[in-house]
């Protein structure tokens, strides 16, 4: 129901109740007054008759008494008038046969007698006096203080009731007219002074809901006027807030440049515009190289300031109509509309490379950062937002690859690589179920005497169609898609199972070193390792977990906690590929490693490069000073082996000593080790 209808119904209801009550009180008092008048008239008449009756009573003048009774009975509103003696015996016999009460009481349809015998009259009077619409009144008749009888008069309320009914009808009509008039008047006033402003408020509210910020015209100073003013203030506030939200939603707070959302929107607009005008434009993805190092070494606040500077430098090299957006982290997007030639984009990219490389002073230190730029052209490299952004991203990814130029245009080959990557992702989902994964084991030997101590577990994927796929290809892919968790679990379970097999076969497999991805370092890793050890009845020393420096970069408390608990349970850890990453010595202090593995890139030039030799020597010395064992990877020549022995490197691993072996060949290797009684004194005692 509408507000106006509710209001008018309420008003009409209140008016009706008020007027009904008023009418009731009025009619009640009117009735009371009329009844009083009736009584008074009856009393006057009665007193008069009572005054003149004694003579007739004393003179037994029944004709006169009857005449009195007739005069009384024929008065308006009088039903009966009877004079009775002190014994209640009627002294008159007259009744008004025309009176409806009497006719009704006598039950006659035809002519009614004017006189009734005293007993019948006495009964009739009693009946009439008992009627609800008859007011019985009695007046004593006395002479010289001696009672002679009474005049009994019955006054009818019928006329009174009829008057009341007529009055009620009149009142009803008048009040109905008043209610109608007032309701219409109030409705009109309400509609003009309330509903119209409210309606305007509703319309403006709808406008605001649609995002059109119009203001309510305020024409009065009453509550509705103040409501309008408040509403306008609210609208302006919403407008400001929405602008603020819009800015927050579409602009990067750090660089004050459009964010990804607005970038996509503008790209969409540009696609439409370029499509209409048959123009070409370029989309660039810019990613800062090694920006994480700045964050890690100088703190995030410095990193943020660097991003702001870089953003400003890039913006300064662009036209007004160009769009610069920060997509997130250290990644930027540049949209270059109305591009003439592809080379124009390259020129801009060159300028941007230079702009990014401009030195920035942070906390008193001069920092230089470089970037990689991927470029996709419309319409050559895509006609949709998704295609263009994916292709620019691919191009940027290519530009990031080692040895590639920092500016890379998207090519069809990149697309093929992307498709290849997608195929691999799909195949990886099925790799475990199909049993396409296989473990290989590369033995690790003690440098001092060449004794076998354990093996590093290496994962191999034999694709049914494409054959061997390098771990360098599919491991990063599995890490990026999260599939590495399932694969890593499979590796751990398979390594444990294999260890159990060899132990059951009476062989001495030593320990198995399993590489862990940072993605695997979750709470459930601990449970998984516990389950593998328990299931295969292996001691914690049977497994060594290899992690790379990159994992430690995150310096995450959760990772620390997981590694700490595993180490406390007896599992040993080795730091893999040491020297290839950021090689912060603080990592060695922060984590309790048992072994440090020197990357093959240091071992390879060991005999030819004095600096490399010095570096390896320093690493070994440092590790030993930290009570860490050192494993040298990639030992491929005898000279390298001898050199490492001379450096007192603890363990050696490489093709010189043994290629990675599948389980079968490794079993043969272990069997031969057992038969040839290779030095075993360093073999862990857990071998049973």
């Amino acid at each position: 129901m509408r507000l106006a209808s509710k209001f008018i119904l309420t008003v009409a209801g209140i008016l009706s109740v008020t007027l009904a009550l008023n009418a009731w009180f009025f009619l009640r008092s009117q009735n009371h007054l009329l009844e009083q008048q009736l009584n008074e008239r009856g009393r006057v008449l009665g007193h008069l008759i009572a005054l003149i009756s004694p003579e007739a009573i004393l003179g037994l003048d029944f004709l006169t008494l009857n005449a009195y009774a007739r005069e009384v009975s024929r008065q308006r509103d009088v039903v009966y008038g009877v004079i009775v003696d002190n014994d209640e015996q009627p002294l008159t016999s007259y009744v008004n046969g025309d009176d409806p009460h009497i006719r009704s009481s006598l039950g006659v349809d035809g002519p009614t007698p004017d006189h009734l015998p005293p007993p019948r009259l006495q009964t009739l009077i009693r009946e009439l006096a008992a009627l609800p619409d008859v007011i019985p009144i009695e007046f004593p008749i006395a002479h010289d203080g001696r009672p002679l009888g009474r005049l009994q008069v019955g006054i009818s309320r019928a006329e009174l009731a009829m008057q009341a009914r007529e009055q009620l009808l009149q009142q009803f009509g008048i009040y109905a007219a008043i209610i109608l008039f007032l309701s219409v008047a109030i409705y009109l006033v309400f509609r003009y002074s309330v509903m119209r402003p409210v309606q305007r408020l509703i319309e403006v509210s709808r406008d605001v809901g649609r995002g059109e910020f119009t203001l309510v015209p305020v024409t009065s100073g009453d509550e509705l006027g103040r409501l309008g003013e408040t509403f306008n203030a609210m609208t302006l506030e919403i407008q400001r807030e929405q602008a603020k939200l819009h800015h927050q939603a579409n602009y990067d707070s750090l660089t004050a440049q459009p964010n990804r959302m607005l970038a996509v929107e503008r790209l969409q607009q540009e696609i439409r515009s370029a499509h209409r005008q048959q123009q070409r434009f370029a989309l660039m993805f810019i990613d800062l190289d090694d920006f994480k190092i700045v964050n890690d070494t100088m703190g995030h606040a410095a990193g943020d300031r660097l991003l702001a500077h870089v953003s400003a430098h890039i913006r300064a090299r662009l036209r007004d109509e160009d769009t610069l957006a920060r997509l997130g982290g250290d990644e930027f997007l540049v949209l270059l509309p109305r591009l003439g030639q592809a080379n124009d984009a390259r020129d801009v990219a060159d300028r941007l490379l230079a702009a990014v490389a401009e030195p920035v002073t942070l906390d008193g230190r001069e920092v230089v950062v470089h970037c990689s730029i991927g470029i996709a052209l419309y319409p050559d490299d895509g006609e949709t937002v998704e295609a263009l952004m994916a292709n620019a991203d691919n191009a940027m990814y290519q530009a990031k690859r080692p040895g590639r130029a920092p500016i890379c245009f998207f090519t069809a080959e990149m697309n093929a690589q992307v498709h290849e990557r997608l195929r691999l992702e799909q195949d990886l989902n099925k790799v475990i179920a199909r049993g396409e994964l296989q473990l290989e084991f590369q033995p690790i030997f003690r440098a001092a005497d060449g004794a076998y101590v354990g093996a590093e577990v290496l994962l191999r994927w034999w694709h049914p169609e494409r054959g061997f796929i390098s771990p360098a290809t599919f491991i990063p892919l599995a890490e990026s898609t999260g599939q590495i968790v399932a694969i890593g679990e499979w590796v751990l379970r398979e390594a444990g199972r294999q260890l159990r097999c060899w132990l059951d076969a009476g062989l001495a497999p030593g320990y198995l070193a399993v590489n862990l991805s940072r993605v695997q370092l979750r709470e459930d890793l601990e449970l998984l390792i516990r389950e593998v050890l328990d299931t295969n009845e292996l001691p914690p020393q049977a497994l060594e977990l290899e992690i790379t420096e990159n994992i430690l970069l995150d310096d995450h408390q959760q990772i620390n906690a997981v590694l700490g608990r595993l180490h406390a349970q007896g599992l040993s850890f080795s730091l893999d590929d040491f020297g290839t990453g950021y090689s912060s010595l603080s990592y060695l202090r922060r984590f309790s490693f048992d072994t440090l593995k020197i990357d093959r890139s240091f071992v390879a030039p060991l005999c030819d490069d004095a600096e490399a030799a010095a570096l390896v020597r320093a690493i070994v010395a440092m590790a030993h000073s930290l009570a860490l064992k050192v494993i040298a990877e990639g030992v491929e020549t005898r000279a390298q082996m001898e050199f490492l022995r001379d450096l007192h490197c603890d363990y050696l691993q490489g093709y010189l000593l043994s290629h990675p072996l599948d389980a079968e060949h490794f079993t043969t290797f272990l069997t031969r080790c057992a038969r040839d009684s290779l030095p075993r004194d360093s073999v862990p005692t857990f071998v049973q």
Partner: protein, 320 residues
């Protein structure tokens, strides 16, 4: 109450007997009773002053006195046509007068202020030395009346002797010929003297019967035709009462002239009255006066009345 009623009766000194013809008049007067009371009083006062004036000279109009059987105004209405008729026929104005009450009227009789007078039989007998009867009323076609005693049918009284010790209501007063003297005579004939029963008087004869109807007495004394009068029939259920006994029939109300009136004039007046039924105009005059005719009357015709009155009122001295 009886005493009270009786006291009031004594105070009034009414000539109730002459009111037996008042049925129709009372019916009309009843409605006007209260309303015209003051007017009647005023009329009677004027009449009192007019009677001496009428007798002041022989050339003066003839004065016709009518006893106050009815209200003065009604009396004037009823008898004005008759007065006009007589005046026209006699060539002499006939002035109609009445009195406010019986005392005043009787004073007029005693003083012979009326040339022509109409009253009841008891009045005539008492004034026979001053007036000479010339005619009598005929009402309802008869010129005689009888006294009667009435009782309620459910009273168990069927003999006059049973009225001993009972209350008897009479109409008017002791002057009433039909409603007191004749019923008293009937009671005497039955062996009941006035002390053998309780006597009460009603305002007038009809009321005596109505009083009986209302249980105010055990018997009612009144004229025999009272039960048939409309005024009575309208006021009560007459089937509930019955005659207990009736007297002999006697001549009706008399019309008399002064004894010193010339005989020729008296005869002329008598003739004019008796001839009325024979003429169209006369019948209208009679109807207006609620009569059916006039009969010739002589003084001797009222001897039965004298006999009865002497029986009832032994001590009364009646002139001749």
């Amino acid at each position: 109450m009886t005493r009270g009623i009786k006291g009031a009766r004594d105070a009034r000194q009414t000539l109730a007997d002459t009111r037996e013809r008042s049925s129709a008049g009372t019916a009309l007067a009843g409605r006007r009773h209260v309303m015209l009371g003051l007017l009647a009083t005023l009329g009677l006062s004027l009449a009192e002053r007019s009677i001496p004036a009428a007798l002041a000279s022989s050339a003066a109009p003839l004065v016709m006195g009518i006893f106050p059987r009815r209200q003065a105004t009604l009396t004037t209405e009823l008898y004005a046509p008759l007065a006009a008729y007589l005046g026209r026929e006699l060539g002499r104005e006939v002035q109609l007068v009445t009195a406010k009450d019986f005392d005043a009227f009787w004073d007029g009789v005693e003083q012979r202020r009326f040339d022509i007078v109409h009253y009841n039989q008891f009045h005539y007998v008492r004034s026979a030395d001053k007036y000479r009867v010339i005619a009598h009323n005929e009402e309802f076609g008869t010129g005689t009346v009888a006294g009667a005693l009435y009782v309620r049918k459910d009273s168990g009284i069927n003999a006059i002797a049973q009225l001993r010790g009972r209350k008897i209501v009479f109409g008017g007063g002791t002057d009433a010929m039909m409603s007191y003297i004749l019923p008293s005579y009937l009671l005497l004939e039955a062996g009941l003297k006035p002390g053998d029963y309780e006597t009460v008087f009603s305002k007038n004869p009809p009321n005596s019967l109505i009083s009986l109807y209302h249980g105010q007495a055990d018997a009612s004394g009144a004229g025999d035709i009272l039960i048939d009068l409309p005024v009575v029939r309208n006021a009560m259920d007459t089937s509930t009462v019955t005659h207990l006994g009736m007297t002999e029939r006697v001549l009706h109300l008399p019309w008399a002239v002064r004894k010193d009136m010339p005989q020729a004039l008296a005869a002329r007046i008598q003739a004019l009255l008796v001839e009325l039924p024979a003429r169209e105009e006369g019948r209208a005059i009679l109807a207006r006066a609620e009569m059916t005719g006039f009969g010739e009357a002589r003084d001797a015709d009222y001897d039965p009345h004298r006999r009865i009155i002497r029986k009832v009122m032994p001590s009364i001295d009646l002139p001749r």
